[in-house]
């Protein structure tokens, strides 16, 4: 079994070999730029890990791995427009560095290229691969729209929140593993279990992300603490804090969110105090552990030797720890 590091290196090398050097440059430069910004390359690595798990030559899964990474970056380019984000991985976002038109079109083209790259896979069932890919792709769009809807609502429930992050973030991890497994011709039961492993890990990651934004150590996380609080993002912590708080605390929290904060740091500190008071971190940690446990129970059920599964188990654990 190849290590994360080995698979990551392979993905990086193959991304650099992608040839987007075409006319007009306004469209292809942003694509190369976006793909060069790096990141964990988690999704393509998962495609390769799943192929490896079921005994397939990982070279046969490289196209699917790249397709998922190009698709993921397409969603980031369009999300950054919608979220009005100026910075991505420490560099200007595409719509900032170029303009909105370029960002819309470069994103569109990345989506098209992702399917093209996926079609390069040597497989007897291309229709199935595209179906797995497109189902997740559609769900990611749906999740992003639901997230946008929540910006305007104050009554989002934990259940609704979990549905949103499942669609927006988690299904693509399940899809990545499923693509690798499908290329390796895994059976239906293994396909289902590895998908559920990925999806549940994805939900746990997102909950972890929410926790770290409020309780992480800024430098380790790589971004300022309290960003979600500053922008009134409907995170698990905020939603759960409203549910757990007594009437008076709820009132205080509502005011903090509704009022235009004169001092953002004061606002963050005040909200964090409420989070601590209602012990919302503990709640979130428990929910995260629940999803992790569900993920591992699905991994256990997969019909390959346990020793081959270690890499996926370790990857999940290391990623959760690296971020904490």
């Amino acid at each position: 079994m190849k290590s994360y590091k080995e698979l990551y290196s392979l993905v990086e090398q193959k991304i650099q070999q992608l040839n987007f050097d075409k006319h007009p440059k306004e469209l292809f430069e942003p694509i190369s730029y976006m793909l060069s910004l790096g990141g964990k390359r988690l999704r393509p690595v998962l495609v390769l890990m799943a192929a490896d798990l079921f005994g397939e030559d990982i070279e046969n899964a490289v196209s699917a791995a790249l397709a998922v990474e190009v698709f993921h970056n397409f969603t980031l380019v369009h999300d950054d427009i919608m979220d009005r984000s100026d910075i991505r991985r420490g560099k200007p976002t595409v719509h900032k560095k170029w303009d909105q038109t370029v960002a819309i079109l470069a994103g569109d083209l990345m989506m098209i290229k992702a399917t093209d790259i996926l079609c390069e896979t040597k497989t007897s069932d291309l229709k199935n691969l595209i179906s797995i890919f497109n189902k997740a792709a559609a769900e990611v769009c749906e999740g992003q729209q639901i997230d946008m809807n929540y910006e305007k609502r104050n009554d989002v429930s934990v259940g609704e929140y979990l549905e949103m992050i499942t669609l927006k973030t988690a299904v693509l991890l399940g899809c990545s593993l499923n693509l690798g497994a499908a290329i390796a011709k895994a059976n239906a039961s293994d396909m289902k279990n590895i998908y559920e492993f990925g999806k549940n890990i994805g939900v746990a990651f997102q909950i972890q992300d929410d926790i770290l934004d409020s309780f992480g150590e800024g430098e380790k996380v790589g971004k300022k603490i309290g960003g979600d609080i500053a922008t009134n993002k409907k995170t698990l912590l905020l939603i759960r804090a409203f549910e757990l708080a007594d009437a008076s605390t709820k009132n205080d929290l509502q005011k903090l969110i509704e009022e235009d904060a004169k001092n953002v740091d004061e606002k963050i500190n005040a909200v964090l105090k409420i989070y601590e008071k209602v012990n919302v971190r503990k709640e979130a940690e428990l929910l995260k552990e629940k999803y992790l446990a569900t993920a591992f129970s699905h991994l256990d059920k997969i019909s390959v030797d346990d020793s081959r599964k270690e890499i996926l188990r370790n990857t999940a654990n290391e990623l959760m720890q690296r971020m904490s």
Copy 2:
């Protein structure tokens, strides 16, 4: 051979049967809305005509036809954002009726759904169909970006203009015919010729569009005369007028374009006078006829009985006349 009217009715009926009634409604309602706005349904009809031409049961080409129509409408949703257009077919555009986020995401989802629908085609060579489809899809994005680039330039040549409209408009007509032909297992030479027929007809249509915007009868065309002039659009007429004009006339034209017009109707009339003076309409008509002739020469070369080609010839001629 089925008539345009029959194929149009079939397309309309199948579009109404498309089921986008899903959650969240903010994403699926705009898709249904956009597809209900009507239009000539030229592209899907061309898919079916090509299948019919080569003796295929048109039912087998319906999915490809719908895929092209959904893709075309995706490009319209995103183009309307970039062009800041508020009205499409007499109704508010998606980003006006909802908002920009909805328009970006609904467009993204339409692109994904287009591929999904294409994959429903019963075929032994899905990879080929997707390749034909994605090549045109990528070129349409490139054409739109080049068009956006031209907005900022004053030295666009006729050759560059023709490249742009070929990519932005014409290749999708060639692609539509090619999909129908591929489903009917047409040979390589016929595939090439029917593609060139569609592409050249597409260029002729766009030139016709440019001519009508300046010289059409407003009510027949369905939009106000001079819209392109009012917005300084780099049409064939404007580009060619600059090339044909003497130094003094060129100067007048430049001023009309650079200055903020106090009275738009006066500006339109002044530019139209220059167009008449340099006889640019005649030039454009000749170029249009050249592309039409090239298109028909490719149609002639297709290895099926001439009588079967009449429907494509008539469709091209009728569309050119209906718009004049």
